[in-house]
């Protein structure tokens, strides 16, 4: 069987998800051996515009030119995998997604920045069909490696469908929320990070995005019980996935 042709692409973001791929130091050579990496702008110059079996795309769409780039990638790929919070939910770039772009631009660049193009930040699925998504800000190396294994085998990757709490408890962590009243997004955030934040006595920031069926309303009321003000809760919940419908539902009523 010929090796699958793979491309790794980046729209606007910190490029952490690509970097996390390069962070597979021990596995990198094996990965490169298993796939035919025809495009990876961060790591090589001989990038080809040919049809792909799998495209991994990180980043948020924030300018019109990126919509076109993304559509092109979609057209030439059998499978499009969104990687990271930016690509799946908009990420930090979409924190203020509902604010006027021109105004933000003015704050940042002043009058001189008028020429800078900007559209409402969007996750990939808002512009093209996404076949699969790896969560996280950034993605986790083990999930990426597993995903490659599954894809090579011909299946879609398997990801946990439960929240961070499950991982947190499997690690036998003391619950920061229950025992220390630290606001924690663990109960409504998708697992996958091995409960990094709670393992350091910090509340989960929610970088893996809301878990399927997240009980956001309950999280809200528990945070209130723990003494947080409405605007604090609202800020806390709208960092990595402000645009996801389940979070939006709590704040924007749709």
């Amino acid at each position: 069987m010929p090796k699958p042709k793979v491309g790794i692409f980046s729209l606007t973001c910190c490029e952490g998800c690509q970097l996390e791929i390069l962070n597979c130091e021990d596995e990198l050579l094996d990965i490169l051996g298993a796939i035919d990496l025809v495009s990876f702008g961060m790591a090589q110059s001989n990038n080809l515009d040919i049809d792909l079996d799998i495209a991994f795309v990180e980043g948020t769409v924030v300018q019109r030119s990126e919509v076109a780039i993304l559509k092109k990638i979609r057209d030439r790929s059998k499978l499009l995998v969104a990687i990271g919070a930016c690509a799946t939910n908009g990420g930090v770039a979409a924190i203020d997604y509902d604010k006027d772009r021109e105004e933000l631009k003015r704050i940042v660049y002043g009058e001189a920045g008028d020429f800078i193009p900007s559209i409402t930040p969007a996750a990939l699925h808002e512009h093209v069909k996404v076949d699969f998504a790896l969560q996280g800000c950034p993605i986790e190396k083990h999930q990426f490696i597993n995903a490659i294994g599954y894809l090579l085998h011909g299946d879609l990757p398997l990801l946990p469908e439960y929240p961070v709490c499950t991982e947190c408890k499997r690690k036998e962590n003391e619950c920061v929320l229950v025992q220390h009243n630290i606001p924690c997004m663990g109960p409504i955030t998708s697992a996958g990070c091995d409960a990094r934040c709670p393992s350091h006595y910090l509340g989960c920031d929610g970088c893996f995005g809301p878990v399927d069926e997240a009980n956001v309303a309950m999280e809200y009321s528990i945070m209130k019980e723990k003494g947080m003000a409405d605007d604090e809760i609202s800020r806390m919940m709208q960092v990595f996935a402000a645009k996801s419908p389940i979070i939006k539902g709590q704040f924007k009523g749709d």
Partner: protein, 437 residues
């Protein structure tokens, strides 16, 4: 020969999206542009109205490769703004985290991004087929840097553990000792890495002198933190006055602002740090630098690569030293310190990120919310200097075949280890275009 344009549409093997454009009329150089087309995320705008505790979490997402620097300098600026003092142990752990980032970032750049240029490969994958051992060695060092970031910061990228006031959980003593052993183990490789980079970067393709700037902490050791800005023209200034140095302005071909010091481009990064602080190098790194002193050529931007290799060695030695100091001073569990009462204020801080000096500055109100923010990144600072060097390289190589010339220009740009995600963000509101003092 009439007018022509030499374009590197997409500069690969760098972090972010940018290109190079050179306009020529015969042998006359008309214009050089580093084009940056990374989208803008308006960080300085979206951080407004957020609590200062969110600042590190959000601002570190400016860039992944130097997320530790962004995170820590944001923390430091916030702490200055709210008047919070952290423990000496916290400061040491923070320095250790930065060193992890320097090691990771430098070795990634040297082995995976820059080296293929000099050995004639399109990328690290192709290079690995012929130079498997070198690539493995480089990846081993890179992993060590990541190991430090993982242990101190709780994650290789966007470290969760470093917060305003300290660390969520200080690493276990045993983890630090394990790190120490790993560092000792790899010192030999770090030395070899210097020799390897030395063997591939020699030719001076720019011959263009620069002004350099870096931070200093007034201490004896070669450091990446400090509150004083040094400039190679002899001036010094406190970090709070960073705007006098950077003077950012917007140019039309770039979503990143540019900087000029007294109307001249200047450079930050490894080469700048070595130029200004290399006498402080100790240990094996010091010996290596002495050995290399004869060939030290600050006019040759490719020396930035060799400089990174030296800094990598230095960082590993320094990391061992810090671990020893931590253990010697009675290492203990510490809680995050919190201000008793938040008084509003402004704070600016700088740090030496792998690519050069990075400045963050925040104004925080008495509710703890950010009202104003400013970030100046090394790549943005370097853009003018990069254009200057590309100009110089073009002139020297004007007779080369177009492909050779392009490769040279790419080598120059890549030697800056540009980090384009970083460079894109706000310019100061209060400054108008081209309004230099």
């Amino acid at each position: 020969m009439s007018s022509r344009t030499i374009k590197v549409d997409h500069l690969y093997r760098v972090e972010g999206h940018g290109g190079i454009r050179v306009e020529l009329d015969g042998k006359k150089l008309l214009d050089v542009k580093m084009e940056i087309f990374e989208g803008s995320r308006f960080f300085e705008a979206l951080i407004r109205g957020r609590h200062y505790n969110d600042v590190p979490m959000i601002m570190c997402r400016i860039c992944a490769i130097c997320s530790a620097s962004h995170r820590l300098v944001a923390i430091k600026a916030v702490e200055k703004a709210i008047g919070l003092e952290v423990s000496p142990q916290t400061k040491r752990l923070r320095e250790l985290l930065i060193l992890g980032e320097i090691i990771e970032s430098h070795t990634l750049h040297l082995f995976c991004l820059a080296a293929p240029d000099f050995l004639g490969f399109p990328g690290v994958a192709a290079m690995a087929e012929r130079h498997g051992d070198v690539v493995k060695m480089g990846l081993g060092l890179k992993k060590l840097g990541n190991q430090i970031q993982e242990i101190i910061g709780g994650r290789k990228i966007h470290q969760v553990n470093a917060e305003v006031g300290g660390f969520g959980k200080v690493p276990e003593e045993e983890q630090l000792m394990e790190l120490r052993r790993a560092l000792e183990d790899k010192l030999g490789d770090a030395l070899e890495a210097v020799a390897f980079i030395e063997s591939i970067t020699v030719e001076n393709i720019t011959k263009s002198p620069s002004i350099f700037s870096a931070l200093t902490n007034g201490e004896e050791n070669y450091s990446y933190t400090g509150d004083t800005i040094l400039v190679s023209t002899g001036e010094t200034m406190p970090v709070e006055d960073y705007k006098k140095l950077t003077n950012e302005f917007v140019v039309n071909h770039s979503h990143a602002k540019h900087s000029l010091y007294k109307d001249k481009p200047f450079m930050v990064g490894s080469l700048a740090r070595l130029y200004l602080n290399r006498q402080k190098l100790k240990g094996k790194a010091g010996q290596e630098m002495k050995r290399l002193e004869k060939s030290f050529d600050p006019d040759n931007i490719l020396w930035n690569n060799l400089g990174q290799a030296v800094e990598n060695l230095q960082s590993m030695e320094r990391a061992i030293e810090i671990i020893d100091q931590l253990m010697g001073d009675g290492y203990r569990e510490e809680e995050i310190v919190k201000p008793l009462k938040i008084k509003g204020g402004s704070g600016s801080a700088g740090t030496e990120a792998p690519r050069g000096t990075l400045y963050h500055s925040y104004t925080i109100d008495s509710d703890g919310l950010v009202t104003d923010a400013d970030v100046i990144t090394p790549t943005a600072i370097n853009l003018e200097n990069m254009e200057k060097d590309i100009r110089a390289a073009t002139i020297l190589a004007i007779d080369d075949a177009e492909e050779d010339l392009k490769l040279k220009l790419e080598k120059v740009a890549r030697a800056y280890d540009p980090c384009i995600s970083c460079s894109v963000h706000l310019v100061d509101l209060r400054k108008e275009k081209n309004s230099q003092p």
